[in-house]
Each structure stands twice: as structure tokens, then as C-alpha cells.
């Protein structure tokens, strides 16, 4: 190998290493987003990222504090079954808590917050 070609090889390798580092960096930034507990609080900025139907349900729940699916459906003028489905989606996303009190199931924003 001549000096010239070894220099070229070194530059090629450095470029390759630099490219690999780029991919590590992009992966690293993605990891950080997933594991820092974003899903357990429903604040207004998170509310804005929800699809329209869930946002309406969540906003009504914010106003009511804590409510059954019936109470919520009355507020939003939707079918009870529809609201119940949306509420359970929000529960699965971690935004809404579900608590049984006697025969009734109450939904509320956040962890045992409510009113």
C-alpha cells in the first residue's frame, strides 16, 4: 500500500465510523422518549396530541373531574357504549384511571386525582 492509498483508506474508515455514530445517536434519542413515563399524566399538551374523538372525551373528563361513562355520555351527547369504549382506550394509554365504587365505575384524569 502506498502512503496515498493508506490515507484514503483511513479517511474512508473515519467516514464509516462517523456514519455509524450517526445511527447510534438517532437510536439513542428514540430510546429516551419511550421510557420516561410520558404516558401516566394527561396534561393539556398531551391532550392536543390525541385524536379528535379521544380529545373530546378527555376534555369533558377534565371538566367533570371524575365521572361514570353514563355521566360522560350525557355531557358529550354520545352513546354510552361509545364513550365507554373511548374511556377504556384512554385507560389503556395510561391517561385515565378507572376505579370501582360499589356498583359504579368511575373514570378520572391521572393517578387517583379526580375531585
Amino acid at each position: 500500500m502506498t502512503d496515498n492509498s493508506s490515507t484514503e483508506e483511513m479517511i474512508r474508515l473515519l467516514r464509516e465510523i462517523s456514519g455509524k455514530l450517526d445511527r447510534i445517536l438517532i437510536q439513542g434519542s428514540a430510546d429516551n422518549e419511550s421510557d420516561d413515563g410520558i404516558l401516566d399524566v394527561l396534561d393539556v399538551m398531551t391532550l392536543l396530541t390525541l385524536p379528535d374523538h379521544l380529545r373530546t372525551t378527555a376534555t369533558a373528563l377534565f371538566e367533570l373531574g371524575s365521572a361514570t361513562a353514563d355521566e360522560l355520555a350525557e355531557r358529550t351527547n354520545k352513546e354510552r357504549a361509545v364513550e365507554s369504549n373511548y374511556l377504556n382506550q384512554l385507560v389503556r394509554m395510561g391517561h385515565v384511571a378507572k376505579n370501582r365504587k360499589g356498583r359504579k365505575v368511575y373514570f378520572s384524569i391521572g393517578e387517583g386525582l379526580g375531585k
Binding site: 391532550l47 392536543l48 376534555t59 377534565f62 386525582l113
Partner: protein
Amino acid sequence: MALTIAIHSYKGGSGKTSFAINLASAYASVGKSVCLLDVDLKAPSSFNYLLPEAKHWVNDIFEGRYGVMDVVKDVSKEMGTKGAFYVGYSNPDIVAVRGISSKDRKWQSKALKLLMTAKRDLSNAGIDIVILDTGAGVDFTSVNAIAVADYVISVGRPGASRQRLMEQVIGGVYMPLDKDCYIIENMCHNDNPTDLSGKKFDLPVLASIPCMCDVAVRCDNEVLVLTEPDHAFSKKIYDIMESLDKITS
């Protein structure tokens, strides 16, 4: 229920606070029972010292320390308004201001609930109009208040750069929260080719207030609708109040 109006601006320096205090004063001067709350905890408004002092801060509401009725003060006597005129100030001390930046999403979620409670308490106390002077731009200090409001008034200076910013705020904040919004073009210059009522968003422009040098200076020291109700600026504010009455009735 009290009618809650959030005064917002997608960018600072639009005259939002002067507009908020003058609109609140206009309502109080015609006999409405009004509450003006400064919810811009990161940049406490100048009306802190245009009006008499109070014992507690709006910050205390968000911290859950006091209810809104413990925090607000009726200044109708000092300001000479016919209707009750309650005001709540946010704490201008830098330690309080810096602290707001460190609040996490959980705190902000609670803050939203406490603000909804405050709105209900004000209704129960017989307030007709609640005016929220929000933070500028997109921040919890503004978006929480917009979420609570029945109407949003977006105060802005016309200009190409602002038009773009406004498009983003309308599409990404006002619309998803399903709010009735109205635009006030403020500090307008005759030779400015752009205005805020573009084709891209069809929000109604409630009024266009020209840029007046004396207003910029005087609003810092007095509440123009009360000290000079015949001033061109004051007249605009009363006109806006009448338009709002029609819209909301």
C-alpha cells in the same frame, strides 16, 4: 355560568395585556361584574401596579393553596367602575417566575383542574365575565387558560412572519381545543401589505386597532377606557365589547 374569555397572543409584545385590562375595565364600567386574572405566571403583567395591591397571588390558586375568591380583590371603588371589578395578580418576584419553568407535566395537569375549579367558583360568586390574561405563545401558561375559556381573543400585530406563526397556533392549539376564536389586529400600520385574515384560516377579525404612539406610552400608566373614554383606542375597545355581547348572547 360566567363567560370566560382568554386573551391570547401567539407572540409577545402584541399589546395583549393592555387590551385585557381595558376590555375588563370597559365591562366593569358599564355595570358588569368582572374578574380579570393574570395567568401569565412566567411574565407577570404590568397591570400589577396599575391597580391596587392584593394579599395573595394567582400562583396560590395553581398551587392549590387558596381558592380564587381568597386571591382576587375588588378594585371597583379605586377604579370607579359601576360593576364589581375583581383582579388577581401573578407574583412578579423572580424566584416565583423561575420556579414556573421547573414545574412538571403532573403539576400542569393539576393546574388545569384547579383553573377549571376557579372558573366554577367565580360563576358561583356571581361574576358575569372572567377575563384571563394568558401567556404569549405556546406554553402551559397560555394553553391551560385557552382550554378553560369559552372564547379566545387572539391579539396580534399584522405582518408576514406573524401570519405564519398564527396559522400554526390556530391549527395546533385553538382548533383541537374546539374554541370560538376572534382576532384583534393591533398596532396596525397603513403601509403593511399583510393582515391576519388570510385565506388559510377563516377566523373573524373583530377589529383592527391602528398603531398609536401615545397609546404605547399611556397604556403603561393608565387605563385609557376609564381615564379617556373618548380616545380612539377606548372607542375601539367599547366597540369590541359590543360585538362580543352580540356574539355571546
